[in-house]
């Protein structure tokens, strides 16, 4: 098989991406040589900022599509979604690679990233998270490898992977489910810092369900984009099916959040005009309430352009949720401690660079790998 001649390598979008990657690399170099203090605005009260909130928490949530579609096709045998298995797995793989890159730059000692794998601390959620990242990235590499083997004509290797594919998918679904939940569980330790609008013993479950919503939206979003720019022809049924899935998951998530709002927090907290309250309303409106309202209308549920807009809203909403949990939920405590945080330009540039790497690699895979062959 040859590269796809219909996808041009050098388009204006690619040039922008490459420029952002170069800028990001410059910031990354600066961070590696001079440390976090020169590159970020992080401080002792805000030890986790944009890199962790957006690139790590957000990136991992975006990758959720991989395990959902793999689960739907391999475990539930919903053959309809077979054409998007490969793109979904690739997205997950790239999402995790991006998260690992961001994590590498975010931790104080990048070259000790491997420490958790030998210094076992089973009682630490962070250790559980670290192990999941290691195992799941490996599993995703395995699930991704057939595309590479097919391209390189390594028929034997492809068959060998094919034999363990189902096992890998089951293993991956388990790892992914736990990893998404564990990222929420990380914040269980901070009940005296976080606002009750987010802190709840069920936070791991909230993270899992919102990651599923994000994953479905992400897969649908990129399928639409691939159709438009990369010539990937898929049935409309797939997109509308994903939209129905989004609606169900979002409704469930909405009920969870409402239950939490009335039992753990109180509705007044959301409307008291504080930073936390406003961010909570923003997150819920953009990511949950408006998408549900639109998806409930049958006409919109079947309109590709409407679904595309809804997907963007869900993605932005869940990203906001991750940023809120990571930063804004602790606003009251942090201002009480007398510190503020707003990301530095270098943090933004690097974040954009990391995202560009993901999009660029996706495009290159679409051109050079049998990504859309089904």
């Amino acid at each position: 098989m040859d590269s796809n001649p219909n996808i041009k390598t050098w388009t204006p979008a690619t040039i922008v991406m490459v420029l952002m990657i170069i800028a990001g690399t410059a910031v990354a170099t600066n961070r590696m040589i001079f440390g976090l203090g020169v590159t970020t605005n992080l401080n002792d009260v805000y030890p986790w900022g944009l890199w962790l909130g957006l690139d790590v928490l957000g990136g991992v949530a975006m990758a959720a599509g991989g395990f959902i579609i793999a689960c739907a096709v391999y475990l539930f045998n919903w053959k309809k979604y077979r054409p998007i298995v490969r793109p979904a797995i690739l997205t997950a793989f790239l999402g995790y690679l991006m998260a690992v890159v961001a994590l590498f730059l975010d931790i104080g000692h990048p070259f000790r990233l491997w420490h958790p794998s030998i210094m076992w601390q089973y009682h630490s959620v962070m250790w559980v998270v670290a192990m999941h990242v290691i195992f799941y990235t490996t599993t995703l590499a395995l699930e991704f490898s057939p595309m590479l083997f097919e391209r390189l004509g390594m028929e034997k290797a492809r068959k060998a992977v094919g034999k363990i594919m189902v096992g890998a998918v089951i293993f991956g679904v388990m790892l992914s489910t736990l990893h998404q939940s564990s990222l929420g569980a990380v914040f269980l330790i901070a009940p005296s810092k976080m606002s009750a609008l987010w802190w709840d013993t069920k936070l791991p479950f909230h993270f899992l369900v919102s990651a599923v919503a994000m994953g479905l939206a992400m897969v649908s979003f990129e399928t639409t984009l691939s159709q438009k720019y990369l010539g990937h022809k898929v049935d409309k049924e797939i997109i509308t099916g994903l939209a129905r899935g989004s609606l169900i998951v979002l409704c469930f998530y909405f009920l969870l959040k409402v239950y939490q709002l009335f039992t753990v927090a109180s509705p007044e907290m959301a409307v008291d005009g504080s930073v936390e309250g406003n961010m909570y309303l923003l997150e819920m409106l953009i990511g949950v309430i408006i998408p549900i309202a639109l998806l409930l209308v049958k006409k919109y549920r079947n309109s590709l352009s409407m679904i595309f807009s809804i997907n963007i809203m869900v993605i932005v909403g869940v990203l906001l949720n991750r940023l809120n949990v990571c930063m804004f939920s602790m606003e009251r405590y942090d201002s009480w401690r007398g510190m503020t945080y707003s990301p530095s330009w270098q943090e933004f540039v690097l974040s954009l660079g990391v995202i560009s790497v993901g999009v660029f690699l996706y495009k290159m895979s679409a051109k050079h790998l049998p990504l859309f062959s089904h």
Binding site: M32, G35, L36, G37, L42, D44, V45, P47, W48, C71, V73, Y74, L75, F76, N77, R82, I107, G108, H109, R112, L113, H115, P116, M119, W120, Q121, Y122, H123, S124, V125, M126, W127, V128, V129, P146, V161, G162, K163, I164, M165, V166, G167, V169, I170, F171, V173, M174, T177, L178, S182, V186, L188, I189, S192, K193, T201, P204, Y333, R337, G338
Partner: protein, 337 residues
């Protein structure tokens, strides 16, 4: 390709067994007891005169630059902390990577009926009986010493995730943001001096006995004894360390009837007595008596069972759907990757 049921079970069972062996290590229980040899500090804010001798000597003992009464011969090479952009030296205003111990003052501007409601407060690591930071550290860099109960830090293990900063309810750990090879910085109760027969520098240098070093059990008794004293009487307060001979006779003030640290966050080895409410002295009012590691342990302890059930659920689902597929006369299995 097609995959038969036996092959399939073989693969999934293999992964299941592999995980089950790693999972069993997670079943030990947490919640450590206070060791009988545990050491700590009792800080009596009513005795503190705010001389900041503890701050200076803390910096000296821990080789941290700067200090309220900086002297070239006694501290490191970089003398000052610059709080603002202009190059004017200031005393530290809070805990940082260069300040492990700080004295702050709560000032009540409108004393009722001539009563002075001001109070000093000394902030540093409280050395929790069941510390959040130790439980969250993914590499075991933060450890609670089994005998002394001191929470120590190993900078060679730390990979810099800063989860301890998020987890600590008291907001103690500081990070060396400006360094390219940074570490977490916090009070280690002068563990290095204790190992050589010494004790905490802040207590050794405290002239009034406000900071008192000793075994936690002795300090707890002493704190309760002080609360039982009658205000106005005189009492011989031990100075520096509770098992020492130095005493100072003082008139007993009116205490707030509470020993902070006896139960807070599951108990701490650094405890406080004061004449004003603790809420006014910079303690996070949301901290209650729960030991923090329990919050995440409730989740982590369920991870092994979740791993097992998810693997079983996945396998069973695949099994059932494949069977249904075959029943429907559909021989075109979808195992092609």
């Amino acid at each position: 390709m097609t995959i038969n049921r036996r092959d399939f079970l073989k693969y999934s069972a293999g992964t299941g067994i592999m995980l089950a062996t790693t999972a069993t290590t997670g079943s030990a229980s947490m919640a450590p007891e206070l060791s009988p040899d545990a050491v700590g500090i009792l800080y009596d804010a009513t005795l503190c005169i705010g001389c900041m001798s503890c701050m200076v000597n803390c910096k000296k003992a821990n080789s941290e630059p700067g200090g309220a009464l900086y002297h070239k011969k006694t501290a490191g090479t970089v003398p000052y902390e610059y709080v603002t952009e202009d190059k004017i030296y200031d005393a530290p205003t809070g805990l940082s990577d260069k300040t492990l111990c700080i004295i702050k003052k709560y000032r009540d501007k409108s004393p009722e009926a001539g009563k002075d409601n001001s109070s000093f407060i000394k902030q540093h690591c409280l050395h929790c009986v069941d510390p959040a930071c130790v439980s969250v550290c993914p590499v075991g860099a933060l450890r609670k010493q089994p005998d002394t109960g001191i929470v120590t830090y190993d900078k060679n293990k730390c990979f810099g995730c800063r989860y301890c900063q998020v987890a600590c309810p008291f907001g103690i750990p500081a990070y060396e943001w400006e360094k390219s090879s940074p570490s977490v910085v916090k009070c280690q109760l002068c563990n290095h001096r204790y190992a050589q027969g010494g004790y905490s520098a802040c207590c050794e240098s405290c002239p009034t006995g406000a900071s008192l070093f000793g075994k936690v059990s002795d300090l707890q008794e002493e704190a309760k004894r002080r609360l039982a004293l009658k205000p106005g009487d005189t009492y011989a307060y031990p100075v520096k360390r509770i098992d020492g001979s130095e005493k100072t006779e003082q008139i007993v003030p009116e205490y707030v009837d509470h020993v902070y640290g006896l139960t807070e966050a599951g108990g701490t080895q650094y405890m406080f007595l004061a004449g004003v409410d603790f809420d006014k002295l910079g303690f996070n009012p949301n901290i209650n008596d729960d030991a923090y590691p329990g919050f995440t342990w409730d989740y982590v302890s369920h991870v092994p069972i979740l791993i097992g059930s998810l693997l079983v659920a996945g396998t069973v689902t695949r099994f059932v759907t494949q069977r249904l597929d075959r029943k429907n006369g559909n021989n075109d299995t979808n195992d092609k990757s």
